[in-house]
């Protein structure tokens, strides 16, 4: 007779990761969602159900800020998708060229900003772009294009795009590295077979390499999406919690921070802040699910 043994070792091996992850991620996440269902009246916490979300989406004072932040967030994401990822792919394609000299140097130089602190990046770019002491106006002046210079970070219509491009500058190394790794994993035989069929140079990239790295591009897109919708640091460092000018750089992260912890004379409201955090979580969850079930399952994969 065979008795089913309980396989304790599975639980034992899982325990450390599960416990740590539960304590620092899962519990706070659900507690935040729980906090969003309460409000504080006269120093006592009372349960109000979805009232905070109703305020957030339908009270004009809140909803205007929320939709503004969400719209800005989408623009921030769009710039990354349109600028960061294509440039990252192009750089990777160039770097993987077998006859490129100093490839390792370029690779490190482009990747280094990624490991720098937001604080340094934000501060350095603020100085570079400063109309008073920055090098941007004098460099443009040197090539006779001074008229193109504007105090970009201080103009409503330019500030968000400028910051998105700064963020692109900082993080372009990540798609580059991932695509670079994917390109290196393409076997030589396939490319050589293509060459025999007359597919070389640029068309080899478009017809052979690109289809093979599509799954990596998908992963990069989803990483960009999650990263952008959780973004906060760069905006906070360069424009402060009010995300000026006139909230034109306000994204969900800064909106949540301002509400949760308060700002200047405005006292913090953890309950509304949690509601915003809950909304952010939902948006990211929906985005990731759309990708996982809508796109990734239909993606064509090639056996290499």
């Amino acid at each position: 007779m065979q008795t089913r043994r309980i396989r304790w070792h599975i639980a034992v091996f899982l325990a450390p990761a599960v416990l740590v992850y539960t304590a620092v991620m899962i519990f706070p996440l659900f507690n935040t969602l729980r906090l969003a269902l309460f409000t504080e009246v006269d120093q006592t916490r009372i349960y109000v159900g979805l009232q905070n979300f109703r305020t957030l989406f339908f009270d004009p004072i809140w909803s205007e800020q929320f939709w503004n932040a969400l719209g800005n967030n989408f623009w921030f994401f769009l710039i990354h998708m349109l600028v960061q990822n294509p440039i990252g792919i192009a750089l990777a394609a160039l770097l993987s060229h077998p006859r490129l000299r100093f490839a390792a140097l370029y690779r490190s130089a482009i990747f280094i900003p990624t490991i720098m602190s937001f604080v340094i990046v934000g501060f350095a770019w603020k100085l570079i772009l400063s109309p008073l002491w920055g090098i941007a106006p004098s460099m443009l002046d040197a090539i006779g294009l001074k008229s193109l210079f504007a105090p970009w970070l201080g103009k409503e219509e330019h500030a968000l795009t400028t910051l998105a491009l700064v963020s692109v500058w900082q993080f372009v190394g990540i798609p580059m590295m991932l695509i670079y790794a994917a390109l290196l994993s393409i076997p030589e035989e396939i490319l050589e077979a293509g060459e025999i069929d007359g597919i070389t140079g640029a068309s080899a990239f478009w017809k052979i390499k690109l289809p093979l790295i599509i799954p990596s591009i998908g992963i990069i897109s989803i990483l960009t999406f999650v990263g952008n919708f959780n973004a906060f640091d760069l905006i906070y460092v360069s424009q402060g919690a009010l995300a000026g000018p006139d909230f034109s750089t306000d994204i969900l992260g800064t909106f949540m921070y301002r509400t949760f912890f308060g700002f200047q004379l405005q006292l913090g409201d953890p309950h509304m802040g949690s509601a915003i955090a809950g909304a952010m979580f939902a948006i990211i969850l929906v985005g990731v699910c759309l990708y996982l079930f809508g796109i990734q399952t239909r993606m064509r994969r090639y056996q290499l």
Partner: protein, 416 residues
């Protein structure tokens, strides 16, 4: 054996603790980490010399984190005995939550005027929970050398003010005024609330606004925005992206002639600038008008209700309220003016000039700080945005007034 060592250790700790218990040690929570040296070298020794047996430790945290750090320390019961108080609602909330003690019965509170105490009182004025320490005064600091060079006198009326700016602009050597809109708060604090009291007649207008008798759409509240709109022409190129430190540097490097200021700049400017500085009051509309200045109550100090050294702490607070403290504090930190009713002789010429305005003008505090910034949308934060929009010309002054009034009316009963 181990147990013996342990109990020995415990015993010795107990002994040490009881030895200390004879003397009270007071810990002060503060956000003024800039003032650490001043407290350690001047204020605390002066107090300890008079009160042997009470030890005082000043333990500040970073200004931006102070409110959050203090709140969590108070909740956890690990906060110091004495709490440096932010003005108005932040401290009022601490009092209402039972973290601060009512100090109305402290004799030394009689040394302060009602305006001085107003920042740390319940709305009905029945309880005072912090001893007022210092206020800051708004006005304009100017480069005296530049003014002499161009033959300009410090302006007193608005017409003279803009004439002076025109003249500086025409000459072109100096940027007429150093202020940016990037950080937003300067536009409201050094702009709107600096020049505004002359329009809404200081306390009279401020109180009427709180009572709901005046509205933010009234001409006296809208007009300052119209004046701010004229400032844009005199700010430096790219002022939209100019930050607060940028403005400070522009002025102290001698590249700008006028700096819309708060008096807290004085000590920094004294060390940075190598030209002679002067100050003028916010200009009045017509010569001879009564002038009003923003003499904003900024720092107080209160007693942690959970402190074990209530008696010693009260002794310290009484001393803070004394003229002796006022004189040490006022002179060590020119620009932070003691609030006690007994006048303090200040040595710094610029600080002396500015504090002298108290005798010539009516004092008031920033219009948005008391009660009006309690709800959402927050009037103070909205005023930052509105002042910036006014300077940039993004919206008309009337539209801005309407917008602020609408926001206030959504939650503040007297305006509904």
């Amino acid at each position: 054996m181990t147990r013996k060592v342990l109990s020995l250790a415990l015993m010795s700790t107990a002994l040490v603790t009881s030895a200390y218990a004879q003397d009270a040690t007071l810990n002060i929570e503060s956000w003024r980490n800039d003032d650490l040296a001043l407290w350690q070298e001047k204020i605390i020794p002066a107090f300890e010399a008079e009160h042997p047996g009470i030890k005082v430790i000043f333990s500040p945290s970073a200004p931006a984190e102070y409110n959050a750090v203090l709140n969590s320390k108070l909740e956890a019961g690990s906060a110091g005995d004495l709490i440096t108080c932010r003005p108005f609602d932040a401290s009022l909330a601490l009092y209402e939550n039972g973290h601060l003690t009512d100090l109305s019965d402290l004799d030394a509170m009689g040394n302060f005027s009602d305006v001085a105490k107003s920042a740390w009182q319940t709305d009905d004025g029945s309880a005072s929970f912090c001893v007022p320490m210092a206020s800051v005064i708004h006005g304009f600091i100017y480069n005296k050398d530049a003014f002499n060079e161009l033959g300009i006198d410090a302006p007193t009326t608005e017409a003279e003010f803009f004439a002076a700016l025109d003249k500086i602009k025409e000459d072109g050597t100096y940027i007429p005024m150093a202020m940016g809109t990037n950080d937003q708060w300067e536009a409201a604090t050094m702009g709107y609330n600096n020049i505004g009291p002359n329009y809404w007649k200081g306390e009279e207008g401020r109180q009427a606004l709180i009572k709901g008798e005046q509205k933010l759409t009234d001409p006296q509240w809208v007009a300052p925005y119209a004046t701010l709109a004229k400032w844009a022409d005199y700010l430096g190129d790219g002022y939209e992206a100019q930050t607060y430190p940028d403005s400070q540097n522009l002025f102290t490097l001698g590249r700008a002639a006028v700096y819309p200021a708060g008096s807290w700049e004085i000590s920094g400017f004294n060390t940075q600038a190598d030209f002679e500085m002067g100050a003028f009051k916010p200009p009045v509309q017509n010569a001879g008008d009564t002038c009003y200045i923003s003499d904003h109550t900024d720092i107080g100090i209160g007693l942690n209700a959970a402190s074990e050294n209530q008696e010693a702490a009260r002794t310290f607070l009484a001393w803070v309220a004394s003229p002796e403290f006022a004189s040490i504090f006022g002179n060590a930190l020119p620009g932070f003016f003691p609030l006690s009713s007994t006048p303090v002789e200040l040595e710094d010429p610029l600080a002396k000039e500015i504090v002298g305005w108290r005798d010539e003008c009516e004092s008031t505090i920033r219009s948005t700080y008391q009660i009006l910034s309690r709800g959402t949308p927050n009037l103070e934060n909205e005023t930052w945005g509105a002042s910036v929009a006014a300077i940039k010309g993004a919206e008309t002054p009337e539209a801005l007034g309407q917008q602020l009034q609408d926001g206030l009316a959504t939650w503040y009963a007297p305006h509904q």
